[in-house]
């Protein structure tokens, strides 16, 4: 079945609401408006206003209320319009959701799912376009995931709802309209493992969320030059599945990390450090990364494009790594 990422996410939400009376959806414009990215269109009529709750523009209160409702036995799904807006709820997420199990020595836990849009590409400018996944991936107590494929959009939500602790689901805004084939793999979606999307011998491209497609495009371009790139989709940003990407790097001996976040203090930096710690002697070249330029994401299309990781930049990074002869040595 060929469906869009939006449709896959919508099916996942629908399943969750239909199968578990503890599940409810809460956020800005999730009801009457149908969801700012139209993911929950029609849900208000089907599930009613108690379970599809439009909230005021009070990120701190409604994310915090999600925490309280989770503590009280519900399985809330809270939608935050963008990761930029989630900063208004950072206190609730970092100072409460992530800490209650620990501070209470396991007496309380917070089975809360927070969905938020992330990333650039729609010319929404600096206050709607950032990628701050690494902020959340820094925090013990949180699980952070970034479904990049149709199968994961369809399958990861159920896995997130099965977690007894808070899970943040990052949905890249450029993925909603992407279409693909929904197979059966979504039924096995977990929140622990990275996935090799395409195998290759010469270099490992490590990406997640909105950059997975760009890494695959880059791998296709490199293939034309005879460079065989492997692509790993991290899928889960905390806890990182070191085993999968480190094993890949041990096979290819080279790695480029592609991260839409800014370079300084990035998740890319963390992945690179772990490769260095665990596979230093397997490397044939220093690990490289392609991140966003260190500017607020600008509005104008050509500037926005220039600020972000692009397939051409990934290809260039790989070529630099392999030397001017573009893989001829292999």
């Amino acid at each position: 079945m060929r469906i869009s990422y939006r449709e896959a996410m919508r099916m996942a939400l629908h399943d969750a609401l239909a199968s578990d009376p503890r599940v409810f959806l809460m956020g800005e414009d999730v009801g009457k408006y149908g969801g700012s990215y139209a993911v929950s269109k029609g849900f208000l009529d089907e599930f009613g206003p108690e379970r599809i709750r439009d909230t005021p523009l009070s990120e701190l209160a409604f994310v915090g209320a999600g925490i309280g409702a989770a503590l009280g036995g519900m399985r809330p799904i809270v939608e935050v319009m963008t990761v930029n807006f989630s900063l208004l709820a950072l206190d609730a997420i970092v100072n409460s959701a992530a800490l209650y199990r620990h501070m209470s020595a396991g007496q309380f836990h917070v089975p809360l799912v927070i969905r938020m849009a992330t990333g650039a590409g729609r010319q929404l400018a600096a206050q709607h376009s950032h990628s701050l996944e690494n902020w959340y991936a820094h925090v013990p107590g949180l699980t952070v995931v970034a479904p990049a494929t149709i199968d994961d959009a369809r399958g990861m939500l159920a896995a997130a709802l099965a977690e007894p602790d808070p899970v943040i689901v990052f949905e890249h805004v450029m993925l909603y309209n992407v279409e693909g084939e929904l197979g059966d793999a979504w039924r096995e979606a977990d929140l622990r493992s990275a996935r090799v999307m395409k195998s290759g011998r010469d270099v490992t491209l490590i990406a997640w969320g909105g950059t997975v497609g760009k890494a695959i495009e880059a791998a296709e371009a490199l293939a034309a030059d005879g460079i065989d790139a492997e692509v790993v989709d991290l899928r889960v940003l905390r806890p990182l599945d070191d085993a999968t990407y480190v094993a890949s790097v041990r096979r290819t001996h080279r790695a480029v990390v592609v991260d839409e976040g800014w370079r300084s203090g990035s998740l890319a930096a963390e992945v690179m450090a772990r490769i260095m710690e665990q596979a230093f002697y397997d490397l044939d070249a220093p690990v490289a990364r392609v991140c966003s330029e260190e500017v607020p994401i600008p509005y104008a299309k050509h500037l926005e494009d220039a600020a972000l990781p692009q397939p051409a930049k990934i290809v260039a990074a790989v070529r630099r790594m392999l030397g001017g002869a573009a893989g001829a040595s292999r």
């Binding site: 409810f24 199990r101 107590g141």
Partner: protein, 325 residues
């Protein structure tokens, strides 16, 4: 009020709880001086009537969200003095196995949801607990305790609005001790009438003498009655802390005369004197209650002293379920 105090049994129970908190807190201050308790320690001495009168208005299925000045609330709620003291000692026998300390007491058995040291941080959580009760058809009330300092936080306004908008069963219990750390209410709020803030959300609001435990109890019972099956209510309890904000606070911002004036209205002698005047309490009975409180505290100290340390190997437990990092 007089008809209420005529119920000598209730009044004595409230007096007993206030004494338990007072002796517990005084002992904590000593133990801090002996370095047995470390970190931040915020004492509730002077404010006992609020926790006692309000917590005693709740039923066993109701929930409590409290602040970092919450030893008294936990104690009255039924968390044992042993478990609280051991927690402050950082011992494994503490209610949170030494993970939380003074500011983060939690107890699932009594629906005591912390111990939140972010000012206003508990308020959205209280709204959510109330929402969960509502969605699951339970008649529970969530009592949210917070200081007047919290009304400056966005979390307060957002939570008041959400609770009022959705008519959720939250009792907003504001403990107004007039100082947010060292900043007096009038120096931080353009509107110092806190009930006026509740009015902005169309929420019923009452101002209560928080030094009078009978008045607190009566107001809290009325608030809980209104909240249960109804919508949220705001109650401002005007109270005063005798001690500094925390053990690190030199208390340079208050007049000695002001402190002494409030002490004259102290909740414990306020009630005991009235009970004695009514012939419902003798000095001997008072001393017996006091001795009982001291005994409970000393037993808690002994329990904490004899406690053990959480093994370092368990450091990473309870970060997420079933996983160690």
């Amino acid at each position: 009020m007089s008809e209420n105090i005529d119920n000598g049994e209730t009044a004595l129970a409230l007096l007993r709880d206030m004494l338990r908190i007072r002796r517990f807190e005084e002992r904590c201050a000593e133990l801090y001086g002996e370095s047995k308790i470390r970190g931040f320690l915020h004492l509730y001495i002077g404010e006992e009537a609020v926790a006692v009168g309000a917590v005693r208005a709740l039923g066993p299925d109701d929930a409590i969200v409290a602040t970092y000045r919450e030893h008294g609330h936990a104690l009255v709620r039924g968390v044992s003095a042993n478990a609280i003291m051991a927690e402050m000692y950082g011992r494994r026998e503490g209610c949170c196995r030494g993970r939380g300390g003074s500011m983060h007491l939690f107890d699932a058995a009594t629906r005591f949801y912390g111990g939140n040291a972010i000012v206003g941080g508990g308020l959205p959580i209280a709204v959510g607990l109330a929402l969960a009760d509502r969605l699951q058809g339970r008649a529970g009330v969530t009592a949210a305790f917070f200081g007047e300092g919290a009304v400056a936080e966005g979390a307060f306004h957002e939570s008041m609005n959400l609770a009022a908008l959705w008519r959720l069963p939250v009792a907003f219990f504001c403990e107004n001790n007039f100082y947010a750390m060292g900043t007096a209410l009038a120096r931080s709020e353009s509107q110092t009438d806190l009930c006026a803030k509740a009015a902005a959300f169309g929420m019923p609001a009452t101002k209560v003498d928080g030094m009078d435990v009978m008045a607190v109890h009566e107001a809290a019972r009325e608030a809980v009655r209104q909240v249960r099956g109804g919508g949220p209510v705001f109650v401002e309890f005007q109270t005063y802390r005798y001690r500094a904000h925390s053990m690190f606070d030199p208390d340079l911002y208050r007049d000695r005369a002001e402190i002494e004036a409030w002490k004259k209205r102290g909740p414990i002698h306020n009630l005991s004197n009235r009970l004695k005047a009514l012939g419902k309490l003798t000095e001997a009975q008072f001393l017996a209650l006091d001795a009982e409180a001291t005994k409970e505290v000393e037993a808690a100290v002994a329990f904490a002293e004899a406690g053990s340390l959480e093994p370092i190997e368990d450091l990473a437990l309870d970060v997420v379920a079933g996983r160690k990092r």
